[in-house]
Amino acid sequence: MRAFFPLRLLAVLLGAISCLIVPAGSWASSWPGSCPGSWVISPARAESRPASVSPSPEKALRWASDGEANVPYVFHDPEDTTRLEGFEYDMVQEIARRLGRPSRFVQNDWDGLIPGLQRGMYDMVVDGIEMTPDHLQAALFSRPYYVTGDRIVVRRDRQDLNTLAALRGHVVGTIKETLAERLLQRETHVTVRSYEEETYAFSDLRNGRLDALLLDEPIALYYAGVTDDLVIVGDPVGQTRYGIAFRQDNTALHDAVDRVLGAMMQDGTMQDILGRWNLWTPAMARMTGDHTERHVAPVQWLRYQDAMRSQTGWTGRLRRYVGFLPIIAKAAGLTLVVSALAMVIAVALGLVLALGRHYGPRLVRDLSGLYIEIVRGTPLLIQILFIFYGLPGLGIRLSPFFAGVLALGLNYAAYEAENYRAGLSSVPRGQMEAAIALNMTHAQAVRLVIVPQAFRTVLPVMTNDFIALLKDSSLVSVITLTELTKTYIRLSSTYYDYIGTGLLIGAAYLLLGLPFVRFARHVERRLGQSLMRSGHH
């Protein structure tokens, strides 16, 4: 559904790596980025956390979904993007209420949802996951809570493309690994384009890159239903069911949730929730056996329609952007904190590495060199994913925040080490000789004479590195940290507005970096002056 294309590749690669590290375990599936044995929680760890297996009244029900552009499942309220809503969101609130547990939402990328579940980051996943045989092998599923078919969406001028047969000879978009994709792949002479994010699929349909879309009905309704240029045509095609995913061993929670779902379907609560979202269908009545007519007003659907329509036009847009500012400010704060802490690690470790490589005994020199070459020779994105998803396989679990800070810090330490090494080499040999002749030890000479002088020459480079770090921190968005880049993805996909939001977020990065750019210039100027002065003698 979402996540970028290269990310999926990386996830697969990482899965492959951890296959090598972790002995083969119990679950195999076609889940992206998974493989037999990956993301397995070791038995010792599973035993040490029995509390998460059985529901207890005081413990929060932690559930995960990908709340980015996941309309109408779980998504950020367009009128207040700090608030979550969606029919699945409402359903989980009701489940938690009936279980007597507070609910806690955990945001995760689609690709990371099941790995995160296996890692124990949360207790269940609710994200329109289809109960296909592959998925049923990957996790334990509840009874289906929603049944739906696929719908064809076209531009207003191509309403003739209203059956699967009519799509032959055309380019059709859909979402990866869905019923729709499988249906299209069975058709001959249809060119299929599979998307991670439905927003991209819709914009390609508008741009004319696609002739039609085949999507789960709720998505089709909530995207095509709020614009004038796209329409839903023809009858529903195929049928698929959504279920809640649990860890295989978490039968206690599975059974409890199943009981609650059954009760909600019987007493009409399910119809109430879905009705508010305009998603109660004859198929749902058949599945639940709830044939009552409760006449629920589709209030959420109307509210969403209004919100999307009111946000068009100049004033609407401007009001929306002003509303973004507190969110962007908060995200900028996180970006700055992550970058600053990472820089502290980079500076300290970088100095140790540089000294080790410059002055250490042979073994230390070689090890420092090896570290620097490995870290500089591999992509930062791999390192971040490895630390967050890979290390738990070796028994080291870090929160997204610390994993992000650590990954960036360890990475930049290698660059700082090279920077410092150049700085150390730039100090004339006579300085060390003078210090030794004054009977200082080697260590005293390095500390009092060499490092302070090297520091002056590396300071401008260090400042520039910090600015680069500020920008590279965008990569930690892949491990669920809602910093600036993640905020961009979230806001732009909620409103299909990649230009305005992009300019705002870009401006935020610029503003964050500006003081440091000025500082670097200032230091460079001062250094230039003092070098000129000392060149006079």
Partner: protein, 230 residues
């Protein structure tokens, strides 16, 4: 090369470029590690036989030996990131753990001695070459050495600035400091030394009282070298 230096002597080492006089001087405080030979200063003796490597015990002895030896370089090698005063204070404080209450008055008196009392707060880059070299002498003296080594102390200086430095060295000589000077300044070598060594090809060709060596060199090579300078 074999050399015995008496307490309070001022010895000048002269010779053509590349003759090994600087290397010899730098071996005296183990800035360079001699291939072989031995050095004794007071109660410290380091015997370097050609077959054995440089080890930790020898490094410790070199450390003890350096405690008695100060060195002044051709290019001053002051620490540019510290003030003149801090340059003088740094080593006593770091090496001998001298408290500031003692190290600072000591540094100020040494700076006064080399004529820099007004410049203590300045950074080295703002001083003239002669001032920098005098600061370097004060810095070396702060460690209270028994012997001072000078590696071409005035080669980088204009004659009138060189004179400031040479004056300081003469005054130290009067106070009884033992000094070994590698120099190209023949006037200084002739006027101020107790003894002059002529070195060529890594060997002491001739040594003696300056008047004798300059006026009537015994060796032909010394004669030739002195003639090229005139």
């Amino acid at each position: 090369m074999s050399l015995r230096v008496k307490r309070g002597e001022l010895i000048s080492i002269i010779g053509p470029s590349g003759c090994g006089k600087s290397t010899f001087l730098r071996c005296l405080n183990f800035l360079e590690i001699p291939d072989s030979g031995s050095i004794r200063m007071g109660d410290v003796e380091i015997d370097k036989k050609s077959e054995q490597g440089w080890n930790r015990a020898q490094e410790r002895r070199a450390h003890r030996l350096r405690a008695q030896v100060g060195m002044v370089f051709q290019s001053f090698n002051l620490f540019p990131h510290r003030t003149v005063l801090d340059n003088v204070i740094m080593a006593p404080r770091a090496v001998k753990k001298t408290p500031p209450s003692q190290s600072e008055p000591l540094a100020r008196s040494l700076l006064a001695k080399v004529g820099l009392e007004g410049l203590a707060a300045r950074f080295p880059a703002t001083l003239s070459g002669g001032q920098q070299q005098r600061a370097a002498i004060a810095r070396a003296l702060a460690m209270k050495p028994a012997v001072m080594l000078y590696d071409e102390p005035t080669s980088a200086l204009d004659p009138e600035l060189a004179e400031e430095v040479l004056q300081v060295m003469r005054r130290l000589d009067e106070e009884g400091m033992t000094q070994i000077v590698v120099t190209h300044d023949m006037r200084f070598a002739r006027a101020a030394s107790d003894r002059v060594l002529y070195v060529e090809g890594g060997r002491i060709v001739e040594s003696g009282a300056p008047e004798a060596l300059f006026a009537s060199p015994a060796d032909q090579r010394t004669r030739r070298f002195l003639r090229t300078l005139l």
